[in-house]
């Protein structure tokens, strides 16, 4: 059309948004990984996250335990029911997430691409409300 092309980003300088990069993968596949493979994946994530942290952009991250450890609370007919197992039976499971401060969706997608391992899927989703809480997130088991 010969017009001014649209800008790729309308973000003004200094604008920022927190993105959650949410990791889905088949738990059956991940559980079948050898320790070496699992360590290699974790090392890869640490390497990518280390670079993001060095820019001062890394928020909380978490890897969740297997869905077999999950318990689900659900509204029932008369009262709340507490069920063993995850929220829903799905092909892929939510395995963990990373919170990253990004200047653009483009940047968030770039990090997600770097974090992807094998057939794992990364969902990039902006955070609406966040609260860092009071916990030291460092060690999960205490």
């Amino acid at each position: 059309m010969g017009q001014t092309p649209l800008p790729l980003s309308i973000r003004t300088k200094g604008s920022r948004m927190l993105y959650a990069i949410i990791c889905y993968h088949s738990e059956a596949v991940v559980n079948a990984w050898s320790k070496e493979k699992d360590d290699a994946v974790m090392a890869h994530h640490q390497e990518v996250l280390g670079k993001i942290a060095a820019k001062g952009k890394l928020g909380p991250t978490a890897r969740l335990m297997p869905t077999t450890t999950a318990t689900t609370v659900r509204p029932g007919r008369q009262q709340l029911t507490v069920l063993d197992g995850p929220f829903a039976e799905t092909k892929e499971q939510l395995l963990g997430f990373f919170i990253i401060d990004c200047e653009s969706l483009e940047e968030a997608i770039e990090y997600a691409k770097q974090l992807v391992v094998d057939e794992g899927v990364m969902e990039v989703r902006p955070v609406m409300v966040s609260n860092t809480g009071v916990l030291n997130f460092g060690s999960a088991v205490r």
């Binding site: 649209l6 800008p7 003004t12 948004m17 029932g76 007919r77 653009s104 902006p126 609406m128």
Partner: protein, 429 residues
């Protein structure tokens, strides 16, 4: 938690299931009245059953099934060709619900909802009737609520909707699943209808109330519904973002006396940051597709305004460029008028005035034209001409708030006399 005493959860479930359920029933019976009646009946039964049995897994599927069975029974009863079925068969639906729900064709849902919205956009219906019909049929607002939103009597609105329904039911509505080109065409038509609903709320075309929040909220709900059904449509992302970014300013757009507060004079801390965040995220997503469209461009403009912490932080240069893109897409004098406001910030009021002069013939009956023109003349210190333009604007004002806003300019002119040019904001918030 599900509380058996508190039935508001049922209301919410019925409201959110409505477009899908009525849309499917319409496909099934190909008659709007039958579809609505069937849905009403299904809702009544939901009110009896759900408090006892708890919510069904898929409320929309439940309502479609029950509504469909009711309407089929009604048809049989009227035809008297078949014996009435045992009432137990009808009321025993709960046990059969799961397998029946699975048999419903999920893939047709999105076209059902789209069709339901599309039939409200009949070209013979004036805009206000399209809006009223959509609010009645798709959103399920009562005639009383719609009448209140339009500030007319309930009887008048009832009549208007009945007339609109007659037009729609005599129209040829294609019930086959649409092909890609038809679907795109329907989406565009429906998007502009949703935008109309929003605009009617954002800047009322008449009456005493300048902003009607419920209409804005309903438009946002419909737009989000459409986006859930068509999650990869850039223009629907753009539309949703535009509505969110505009509506985010609602708390700051009127002062305590219901006077219009200009964008540049608004208390920006009142803007809804969650809505702005969601709007920005959607603009980001839409722009990535690199398929430019008018809603995306307008949303991008709104996004730039929304990010400016103070008026002087506004990126007018990029806004001017975006308006240029919008002009090439839609070529409307109103777009040029809006662009002129950006131009006045970048190049000064003289350039902006030169830009809008040629629009006078086409915008001679448009309130905002004279508002902007008066503002530019005032900045140039041409007080007499400014006064003349403002007088025309007052005569064309749609609401008391618009008139009062212009009167405020006139008062300033009065006070300033013909003193040196002053920079006054011209854009309307």
């Amino acid at each position: 938690m599900t509380n058996t005493q508190d039935l508001t959860w049922i209301d919410a479930a019925l409201t959110s299931a409505r477009p899908q359920a009525v849309g499917a029933l319409l496909r099934y019976f190909r008659d709007l009245d039958t579809a609505e009646e069937a849905f009403q009946e299904a809702c009544l039964r939901a009110l009896q059953k759900w408090p006892v049995n708890g919510p069904p897994r898929d409320p929309a599927a439940w309502l479609i099934m029950v509504g469909r069975n009711f309407a089929l029974d009604e048809a049989r009863r009227k035809n008297k060709q078949q014996e009435l079925p045992d009432d137990d068969v009808i009321s025993n639906l709960d046990d059969a619900e799961a397998p029946l729900a699975e048999r419903l064709d999920n893939s047709q849902y999105r076209d059902d909802v789209l069709r339901l919205l599309f039939i409200c956009c009949h070209p013979e219906l004036p805009n206000t009737q399209q809006i009223a019909l959509a609010l009645r049929i798709v959103s399920g607002l009562t005639v009383k609520e719609i009448a209140r939103a339009f500030l007319v009597s309930e009887a008048a609105m009832e009549q208007r909707i009945t007339r609109a329904k007659r037009v729609v039911s005599n129209a040829d509505v294609p019930f086959e699943a649409p092909g890609a080109p038809e679907r795109a065409e329907r989406l565009a038509t429906v998007a502009s209808m949703i935008y109309l609903v929003f605009n009617e709320g954002y800047s009322a075309s008449g009456g005493d109330v300048h902003v009607r929040v419920p209409l804005c909220e309903e438009a946002i709900r419909l737009s989000k519904l459409l986006l859930r059904l068509f999650p990869a449509e850039g223009e629907i992302m753009g539309l949703t973002a535009l509505l969110l970014l505009q509506h985010a300013r609602a708390p700051a757009r009127l002062d305590a006396n219901n006077n219009i507060v200009l964008l540049e004079e608004q208390n920006r801390s009142l803007w809804d940051q969650n809505m702005i965040g969601e709007g920005l995220a959607l603009v980001d997503k839409a722009l990535r597709q690199r398929r430019v469209g008018p809603y995306q461009v307008q949303a991008a403009i709104a996004a730039l305004h929304a990010q400016a912490k103070r008026p002087e932080d506004t990126d007018w240069k990029q806004i001017d460029q975006l308006y240029a893109v919008l002009e090439s897409l839609t070529a409307s004098p109103v777009v040029t008028l809006n662009r002129a406001v950006a131009v006045s910030k970048v190049e000064g009021p003289e350039a902006a005035l030169a830009m809008i002069e040629p629009l006078a013939a086409r915008l001679g009956g448009y309130f905002h034209f004279f508002g902007v023109r008066g503002g530019l003349l005032m900045q140039l210190g041409r007080a007499d001409e400014a006064r003349e333009a403002f007088d025309r604007a007052i005569a064309l004002a749609n609401t008391p708030a618009e008139a009062a806003h212009i009167r405020m300019h006139l008062d300033r002119l009065q006070k300033d006399g013909a003193t040196a040019p002053r920079h006054r904001p011209t854009s309307v918030g």
